[in-house]
Symmetry: C2
Subunit: 246 residues, 2 copies
DNA sequence: TAGATTGTTAATCGATTAACAATC
DNA sequence: TAGATTGTTAATCGATTAACAATC
């Protein structure tokens, strides 16, 4: 997938940086390392080498060490990384030491499923409010939450301290919802609607377009088919695996 | 997002390439251009400039022209791109001129929603078979399809000419399902389970991890909060927007 | 012809990778 | 001390971008 990003790094001359300036590619991989580390911790590992953690996260060890070096020096030469220490460090950097409140707008087919998705709750987030424009949906209970009308969005965002909004409306409604979320004070948006959102400075948007993922796979299917048709046929040397991120 | 990718480009000396060798970043953006072009066509545009299409797709025009130049020369200097021609060309490259058959494994919360997701059908894909390991789910009808037991996977893949598999099982089951899909002949997998899959050469995997998307946003929330706390406060110069892809 | 816009060049930037010195 | 493994260096690779010559 691809994400848009406009620069906004204020100058920060002198002093210890309050916040490390991590490469975007590194940021996108930290959650994967975190997931792998939680698995290792659960399996009882106290310590893990870069080689081992890299394998568990599906990257090569040089990249992993380079990524972790941006956080500071949390490994021990000749030994490896302390699993618990690294978990704490990555969770701190990702801002997961606080449980973030999320609003979800659009409880149709996909939105309904997202509202009940265990993975959010178990990995640092609380969906605290559901909204829809359809009066048919308003009032329904999903996973213990009552669907409210989008008109109440502003109040809810302020009252519940919501900073992240998830948009799972049809594309035609998405920009309006984004505007409402931003007006209410939300500064991060996860957009499932297949359309481009325009947002003011300081607001981050990530987009997940499920059909695009399949279309990218379709390209590779097409390419592979055209290669097999060629004299010599398909020559493979390893699986191709990509994880969606920026 | 990040995706793993192991090289597998066989040498292709001499002759006109049967298939253009597109940069991975370009491939990931073509579907976005296609979506924008469909919108333009619906709005009645015959022709569009790189500037106009770039705006509709949320990228800058230099990048768009560079991307399209890899496909060949389908624009007219001084005029722009023919919308219909470009749609046909991108759809051909992405292999969307044929409607691809997709199998979905795991009809829990998320899988159920994916099985009914309109966006797949409207953008080149047919979900032709649903599977689950849970006998409680087997036999249920979702969106006109009957859920079958994973044991029948192999036969269905062959009979229905399925080339793409979607995995929406719990992570503990995902590797086994991937193995089954590959054994049955599937060569592309879209994985929603939060785990790394290992697959043989020639099989493409894309991963969508919903919690990771939120965690990346959480990082930016954390960063923004730490900047506001700094003397001078937050200095923004534009919205940050990223689309999930490789 | 004059104006518009593509396709391409070349410079820049950021990410990846292998190799190895530092050090536990 | 010897073996293991990190953190860093430097080379390489791929992607982005601005600028502009080509050309409709």
């Amino acid at each position: 997938m691809s994400q848009q990003r406009h620069g906004n790094t204020p100058g920060n001359a002198g002093a210890v940086p309050a916040f490390p300036d991590l490469p975007e590619a590194t940021i996108a991989r930290l959650p994967e390392y975190l997931r792998a580390l939680h698995n290792l911790a659960e399996a009882g590992s106290d310590t893990i080498s870069s080689e081992g953690l890299a394998a568990a996260a599906g990257v090569n060890s040089a990249k992993l060490r380079k990524d972790l070096s941006h956080l500071g020096s949390y490994g021990t030469r000749g030994v490896g990384y302390d699993v618990t220490l690294l978990i704490d460090q990555i969770e701190y950097i990702l801002g997961l030491d606080q449980r973030r409140a999320v609003a979800l707008v659009g409880v149709g087919n996909l939105g309904h499923a997202l509202a009940g998705y265990d993975g959010f709750a178990s990995r640092g987030f609380r969906i605290v409010a559901l909204f829809d424009a359809d009066l048919e949906q308003v009032g329904k209970a999903i996973n213990g939450l009552t669907v409210r009308h989008v008109g109440e969005l502003r109040r809810a965002v302020v009252e519940d301290g919501i900073t992240i909004g998830v948009i799972s409306t049809p594309p035609s409604a998405a920009q309006g919802v984004a505007d409402d979320l931003v007006a209410a004070g939300v500064t991060s948006i996860l957009n499932f609607a297949p359309c481009v959102l325009s947002v003011p400075a300081g607001v981050d948007v990530r987009k997940v377009d499920l059909a695009i993922e399949l279309q990218i796979l379709s390209f590779h299917e097409h390419r592979k088919a055209s290669l097999t048709a060629l004299p010599g046929g398909l020559v493979g040397e390893g699986g191709n695996q990509e994880a969606v991120g920026s």
